[in-house]
């Protein structure tokens, strides 16, 4: 190792470790900057999936319906599940018009309760039906049925089915007019096959659209339709939130960067005597720049890693506190964070040096 090189390293080490807690201030400032950049970027990337998840709670975003008077093919459910991305929820519905004991017509729907329960979480029920002869009765349909023997009778083309009411359901929409029973029992009773699939596809608009295309190829004779109001609202909110997050990320990053920049600059200016002495004993501008920039680089690298860790933690905490699901740390953010903090630190070191260069070392040493 050449003398020159070992001297450089010696000065670098002295600059970092031999100056009390001066480098600590620079380190803390840079760590704060790196933390905020990491946290904001992680949240920016994580937000969309979290919001998409929120919108899934609305229920189905695609429906597959048989043309009027027809039913779906027998293997439709497996087929749909096969072409859809994993995590999709497919709920079959079969409909028949039955007569209650007072003679009024009521729509009876056969469905899979366990799947419906995870699709339509907003249904106001006291408990979900589980047994074959249990039913969920819409609040508007309830006055039309009369109870006897702990249940009520429904009549479909001469065949009577004795059902037990597990709960009533309140939704504020047409579900309140219906009576829901489990699909196997419904098929045994009426012989009617499912005519509608309500599907919830995870993800953003693009995933939903590609799912619709796949379903259309799989069921050419059926009507595959997006639930447009849901996709519309989801798209509007997510586009807006993306812009809000981008604006806040830029604003916060810029402010923190400026604050850090001024702190670093003044800490370099404070060391103008070191600079003057180095110049006076004959080091070139390049070497001095190298020493100061080297110091800044080391501090920035350590701060970037520390900031990445703290920032990922902060983002995870914010999202955990808010969405009850943490955003996972993104390794893709790290290069950006390193680049930002290194650029910030090196720039903050070199700009004041360029200023000092115009002054004679003697002048600085005299204290002018």
């Amino acid at each position: 190792m050449s003398l020159r090189r070992s001297m450089f390293l010696h000065l670098l080490r002295r600059g970092l470790l031999g100056r009390g807690n001066r480098p600590l201030i620079a380190f803390i400032a840079l760590t704060v900057a790196a933390t905020m950049i990491t946290a904001m970027l992680s949240l920016y990337y994580g937000l969309e999936s979290k919001l998409n998840r929120d919108f899934r709670a609305y229920g189905a975003n695609v429906t597959v319906a048989a043309p009027e008077g027809n039913v779906l093919p027998a293997d439709a459910l497996e087929n749909a599940q096969h072409v859809l991305p994993s995590g999709s929820l497919v709920v079959p519905f079969a409909f028949a018009i039955a007569h209650a004991s007072d003679g009024s017509a009521v729509v009876v729907a056969g469905t899979d309760f366990s799947k419906l329960q995870s699709l339509d979480k907003w249904w106001l029920v006291s408990k979900w039906a589980t047994k074959d002869n249990e039913s969920i009765v819409g609040v508007k349909a309830e006055p039309h049925i009369s109870f006897a023997n702990g249940g009520f009778d429904l009549n479909f083309s001469g065949r009577t089915f004795h059902l037990i009411e597990a709960t009533t359901v309140k939704t504020g929409a047409e579900e309140e007019n219906r009576i829901y029973v489990s699909l196997p029992a419904f098929e045994r009773w009426t012989g009617v096959q499912p005519s509608l699939l309500e599907i919830s596809v995870p993800g953003a608009r693009e995933q939903v659209n590609s799912a619709i295309q796949k379903l259309q190829t799989a069921f050419p004779a059926m009507q595959v339709r997006p639930v447009r109001q849901l996709l519309e609202a989801q798209g509007a909110v997510i586009t807006r939130m993306r812009s809000v997050m981008l604006a806040s990320t830029l604003l916060i990053t810029l402010t923190v960067a400026l604050c850090v920049f001024s702190t670093l600059t003044s800490s370099v200016l404070e060391r103008r005597r070191d600079f003057a002495v180095m110049k006076a004993i004959g080091s070139s501008q390049g070497t001095v720049n190298g020493i100061f920039a080297g110091e800044a680089l080391v501090i920035a690298l350590v701060a970037a890693f520390a900031g990445y860790l703290v920032g990922s933690g902060l983002a995870a905490w914010i999202s955990e506190a808010n969405f009850h699901a943490a955003v996972s740390p993104r390794i893709g953010v790290l290069p950006l964070v390193i680049a930002c903090s290194v650029a910030l630190a090196v720039l903050a070191a070199l700009l004041p040096l360029a200023q000092l260069q115009r002054i004679e070392p003697a002048g600085i040493l005299k204290g002018e």
Binding site: A57, Y58, F95, A233, V237, I252, V256, F323
Partner: protein
């Protein structure tokens, strides 16, 4: 420092307001409250199949509609549309005819406003034509119905209900129906002034435990508080009072889920504002620390001239406070401008800045500045004046 305050102000202002803005975006989902006659008949309908008209006898009165704007939370009602349905023979098929408002001018007192499905359901799309005129008439043919009839309908063709205005795609039952102005269906069904259902889109507050309580079992004070909060339930309650013999319900799919989205978004923005505040505090305190360390010679001189630690500390604290107040004021102004800019750029409407934010911002600026410089001041006070003045420290 000023920038820090400005950004913190902007973040808080945007964070507080973002909920309201997103609430409006969410309302593009459509109605969240429905009003219908109390003794409406059971709706027997599966998909496009419709066994009989939704209601036998009971109707709401169209003439009561403008009073929706007169309820306590009238300003939170963004849009509403009445619906009346019947069936008619059309081209040899029995088809559903839906009457509604498209973009109707209504008056309540001196206030004029426009409402209808175009505002309520922004996803309804008219192709090959224009929206019908509420007064002048016009027929929208559902896009699937038009396909099934196999007749090359075009805009301007005459039907028994009026001229064809265009073709409607909604993704719902309307695609298999004729959609016309309300007055046309009232005439067709011979039900003047009648309305089956009213769908209302209102800005609401996310539901909490208090909102779910039964208003009839509350004491007077609680009832007032419940009545005067814009919960979906209380707005529905007020609508029910407006229409005699009606029931009003929240549409749970819309009302329940938008609450979750809203509270998540505003919660996150506030947490981000908080985090940016803490970051600004740290950055400011680092800046304060360097400036005070730079002035250690001053401290040494003052000490050697006999100043006590209290005098010096109070000098620095006063300076910091003045700085904080000035920075707070300028930062608040700047932050308001930034928040406005963000609001206009993203939501095409300004962000409301409450003056109540100003004292909070200045207090926070004071806290951050004094707190941030405390450590540096303590260190400066510990310095030995002799060493400092000699220039060795």
């Amino acid at each position: 420092m000023i920038l820090g305050v400005a950004v913190a102000t902007a973040m808080i202002a945007v964070g507080v307001d973002v909920g309201d803005k997103i609430n409006r975006e969410l309302r593009s989902y459509g109605a969240n409250i429905v009003v219908y006659p109390e003794d409406a008949a059971l709706d027997v309908r599966v998909g496009d199949q419709h066994i009989k008209p939704a209601s036998g006898g009971a109707h709401l009165k169209e003439s009561d509609l403008p009073r929706i704007k007169g309820i306590f939370w009238g300003h939170n009602i963004l849009a509403f549309a009445p619906f009346l349905e019947t069936t008619t023979e059309f081209e040899g098929h029995t088809v559903l005819v839906i009457g509604t408002y498209f973009d109707k001018q209504l008056h309540f007192g001196n206030e004029a406003f426009r409402t209808g499905v175009r505002k309520l359901y922004p996803w309804w799309k008219v192709e090959g034509g224009v929206w019908p005129d509420d007064e002048g008439g016009g027929v929208l043919i559902g896009s699937r119905l038009a396909k099934e009839l196999h007749r090359g309908w075009e805009q301007g063709n005459l039907t028994p209900l009026g001229r064809v205005s265009g073709f409607l795609t909604t993704g719902g039952a309307e695609d298999m129906a004729l959609v016309v102005p309300l007055a046309v269906v009232q005439k067709l069904a011979n039900e003047p002034n009648a309305v089956d259902k009213i769908y209302v889109s209102a800005l609401t507050k996310p539901e909490d435990a208090f909102a779910r309580r039964d208003p009839s079992r509350m004491d007077a004070a609680d009832h007032d508080r419940w009545y005067c909060s814009p919960y979906a339930n209380s707005i529905a309650f007020q609508l029910q009072e407006t229409f005699p013999g009606s029931r009003a319900e929240q549409i749970r799919q819309a009302a329940q889920n938008e609450g979750a989205v809203l509270s998540h978004i505003s919660g996150m923005m506030l947490l981000i504002a908080l985090a940016s505040l803490i970051a600004a505090a740290l950055a400011v305190s680092a800046a304060m620390a360097t400036t005070i360390l730079e002035r250690r010679r001053e401290v040494g001189l003052m000490k050697s001239l006999g100043a006590t630690a209290t005098t010096i500390a109070s000098l620095f604290v006063t300076e910091a406070s003045l700085l904080a107040i000035v920075a707070g004021l300028v930062g608040f102004a700047l932050g308001s401008v930034i928040a406005q800019r963000i609001g206009h750029a993203i939501f095409h409407s300004g962000v409301e800045i409450t003056p109540a934010l100003l004292p909070i911002v200045i207090f926070l600026a004071l806290l951050v500045t004094i707190g941030g410089s405390a450590a540096a001041i303590r260190r400066a006070l510990r310095l030995d004046p002799v060493v400092v003045l000699r220039g060795d420290a």
